[in-house]
């Protein structure tokens, strides 16, 4: 069955699905770290070690062909064909992504060792959105618009309020781990996963499934090296404990790895559609889903029972509502347009394309046959920015004989 939906909805669906799976997974993380593997280094290592066969298994399963397309291509990522070997050009980005993933994962489980309530841990880490906006602004050589700043601040304050523990406690040590270890690790992972997703492999965009499979393998290697070095300095034995725990609690760790596999491939796919900060903003909704998970595992006696203070619950709900509003206003301020260009005779279309490609906000340049010579696709935050950044620049191009700006009002994409 073919499915054609608005790209915006696809983006939301992917990011929200990743958020729901992450929230469920955080509950499982709490169970495993509280009942089975209390050493965060060992748990981090075993997640990657067991994650390798799990990711390979699902990638092979998704490679199975159904009619003319593989299952993964049909249902998860249209760029996916089948599991494949890593390409040379991906290597550098995979190493950086794995480094970020290793830091993030060990930090995340270290946090679980201090606070074991997922509804507190997850919201704290959503402040990562601020880091992403700063990085995107530096990359785009552009300042965020007022609308972007407004939404980011709303989302961040919402996340902070939403991150309040249901028991009302705030732990300074955990805040340090979040801001100095978990968030930077996640930013590195996100930035390089996005770079990988936008790469072209065999004339099509890189797929989220192969990115994840290779990321798990590299994360295992880099995390094992980091733990080995740490063990040498501290005369500890986390590395061997990690290997042993992977065998002893294989089933539990495999369940977590399965959740992580699907949460991540959906998140990477979302990263291929929209900005990293917006994908992260939507993924922040994981806070909402983590509340029932926390209540459930506390009820089961896996984590400590906390008093459900109605005032704290109201503050948490207000925080989440503010966050959702921030996300919606953020998403609604994206303007897409086409520009159809006629190039003056005697001037190279290819050179003009290269020059147009340098303009910030231009996401696609196509040389075409027919009435026009070049079609540009534009993404800007506001129409004013489109005028300031693009229309004014087009006026400087002597090669352009005539152009037509067509603002996109609504869009559907084949998925």
């Amino acid at each position: 069955m073919r499915l054609r939906i608005r790209k915006k909805y696809l983006f939301y669906a992917l990011a929200f699905s990743a958020a729901i799976i992450s929230a469920i997974n955080s509950g499982l993380d709490a169970i495993v770290s509280n009942l089975y593997i209390s050493d965060p280094w060992a748990l981090g290592l075993s997640i990657f070690l067991v994650g390798i066969p799990v990711s390979l298994f699902f990638a092979l399963l998704l490679s199975i062909k159904h009619k003319d397309k593989s299952i993964g291509e049909r249902f998860i990522d249209p760029s996916f064909k089948r599991i494949r070997l890593i390409k040379k050009e991906e290597l550098k980005y995979q190493i950086f992504a794995a480094f970020g993933n290793g830091i993030f994962t060990v930090g995340y489980f270290a946090l679980f060792a201090i606070i074991n309530d997922p509804s507190v841990i997850l919201p704290f880490s959503q402040v990562v959105i601020l880091y992403l906006v700063v990085i995107e602004s530096v990359n785009d050589k552009d300042v965020p618009t007022l609308a972007e700043l407004q939404s980011i601040i709303i989302v961040t304050f919402g996340a902070i309020l939403g991150s309040m523990s249901l028991s009302g406690n705030i732990n300074i040590e955990s805040l340090i781990i979040v801001f100095l270890i978990i968030n930077p690790g996640w930013v590195i992972l996100t930035v390089y996963q996005r770079k990988l997703k936008w790469m072209k492999i065999n004339n099509r965009y890189n797929d989220s499934i192969n990115i994840r499979v290779w990321n798990v393998m590299f994360s295992f290697i880099l995390t094992a090296i980091m733990i080995f070095i740490y063990d040498q300095f501290t005369r500890s034995n986390h590395l061997m404990v990690g290997f042993q725990e992977s065998i002893d609690h294989f089933v539990w760790v495999a369940i977590i790895s399965t959740g992580a596999f699907f949460a991540i491939i959906l998140y990477i796919r979302a990263l291929g559609i929209g900005k990293a900060s917006i994908a992260q903003a939507i993924r922040s909704s994981t806070i909402i889903f983590s509340i029932p998970v926390s209540i459930l595992i506390a009820h089961l006696g896996i984590i400590e029972q906390f008093p459900l203070d109605p005032n704290l619950l109201i503050i948490k709900i207000i925080g989440i509502s503010i966050m959702v509003l921030g996300i919606i206003s953020f998403a609604l301020t994206l303007v897409k347009s086409y520009i159809f260009i006629k190039v003056r005779p005697g001037i190279s279309i290819e050179k003009t394309m290269d020059e147009l490609w340098k303009i910030r906000g231009v996401s696609r340049v196509c040389a075409v046959t027919g009435e026009y010579d070049i079609v540009l696709k534009i993404h800007t935050r506001t129409l004013v920015k489109g005028y300031e950044k693009i229309i004014k620049k087009l006026g400087d191009f002597k090669a352009i004989k005539e152009y037509k700006w067509q603002s996109v009002l609504k869009e559907w994409e084949d998925i």
């Binding site: 696609r364 196509c366 040389a367 559907w412």
Partner: protein, 79 residues
Amino acid sequence: MINAYILIDLKPGNSDKAISEMRKIPNIAKISVVAGDFDIVVRVHVKNLNNLLKVTDKIHMIKGVIKTTTQIIEKELSL
């Protein structure tokens, strides 16, 4: 593979029905409703020119379509 943009002019008042018809056509990768000289920009992804003709033909058959302009992509730079 051939990628192309098809620029479509519609009769006023026919857009909703025409778009739902277009959404049923295979090989259409993207449908954008736009403000300006055209009404709709469609991105097509086909194996060969013969298939492109089939898509253009199907679009022509939709009630309300006045004119189509097909622009085949020769080279593309994208994020």
